[in-house]
Amino acid sequence: MANQIRRPQRRTLFLVYIGLIALLILTAVGAYVPMGGTPYVLLAFGVSAAKTALIAFFFMEIHYHNGITRIFAGAGLVWLALLFVLTFSDYLTRHWRF
C-alpha cells in the first residue's frame, strides 16, 4: 500500500513539458501573424488556460489530493470568478440605457 504512490510517470512529465513549450511557441509565433486583435487575445488566453490545466494536473497533481483539499483549491477560483463577474457586471453595463 505505502509503496504505491499515485503520480504521473517520469515520461509523462517530459511530454507535458514539451506540450507547454509547444503552446508557448504557438503564442510567440502567433504574435507575428496578422489575425486581428480579438482572435489573437482569445488565442493567447486560451493557451494560458491550456497551460494552467497541464501544470495543475500533471505538475501539481490536483486530482490526486483528497476531497477537502480540492474544495479549498477550487474555492480560490470561485471567489476569483465572483470578483470578476460582479465587477464587470457593473463596468460593462454602465453605458446601457433603457
Partner: protein, 217 residues
Amino acid sequence: MSKAAATATLAEQFEHPKQQEEASSLGIWTFLSTEILFFGGLILSYSVYRVNYPEGFAEGSRHLYFWIGTINTFVLLTSSLFMALAVHSIQDGDQKKLRRFLVLTFLFGAAFLGLKLVEYYLDASDHLVPGFNFDPNKYARPHHVEMFLFLYFALTGLHAVHMTLGLSALSYLYIKARRESFSESYHTPVKIVGLYWHFVDLVWVFLYPMLYLIGKP
C-alpha cells in the same frame, strides 16, 4: 524506512504520516487560494483599465521587451519541470537526483530573476518608469500608457517577490536534502515547496499574455 524513522518525522498531533501530509497539503492549498485572490485583485484592476482603454494598453505593451518576456516564460516553465522531477526523484528515494533537480530549479529561477532585472534596467533606460522618469511626450495616449506601465511594474514586481521567496525555500530544501532529511516515505516539504513554485509559474503564465502580447497583432 523503519517504523522508528517514520515516527521521528511525525509531529505529535498526528495519528499517522498520511494524516500529517494531508494537513500540510490542505495548508498550502489554503494559502494558494488566498494568493489567487491577492494577484486576482491586481489582475482585476488591469482588466477594468484594459477594457476601458484598449488602445493605450496596446500602445504601452508594444514598448516592453517581448523577447525577454518570452524567454523568461520558457525559463520558468523549465524550472517547473525540474521541480516536478525533484519530487519524482525523492519519491523513488534518489537523494542524488533530488539535490541535482533542486539545484537546476534554483538556477532557472535565478536566471528568470536575472533576466527580469536586465529588463527593468532596459525599461528604466527607455524612460518607462511611472513617477520616476516616464516621458509622456512619446505617446498618443500618455495617461493610459502610464497606467499600463504602473500595473506592469506592480504585477511583475509582486511576482518577483514571490520568486525570491521561492528561491529562499529552495535553498532551505537543498540544505535539508544535503543532510538527507527526506526519503521515500517523508518528503512533504519538497512537495509543498513544489506546489508553491508551480503556482508562481502559473501566475506568470497569465502575466505573459496580459503584459507582452496584447499589443502584438
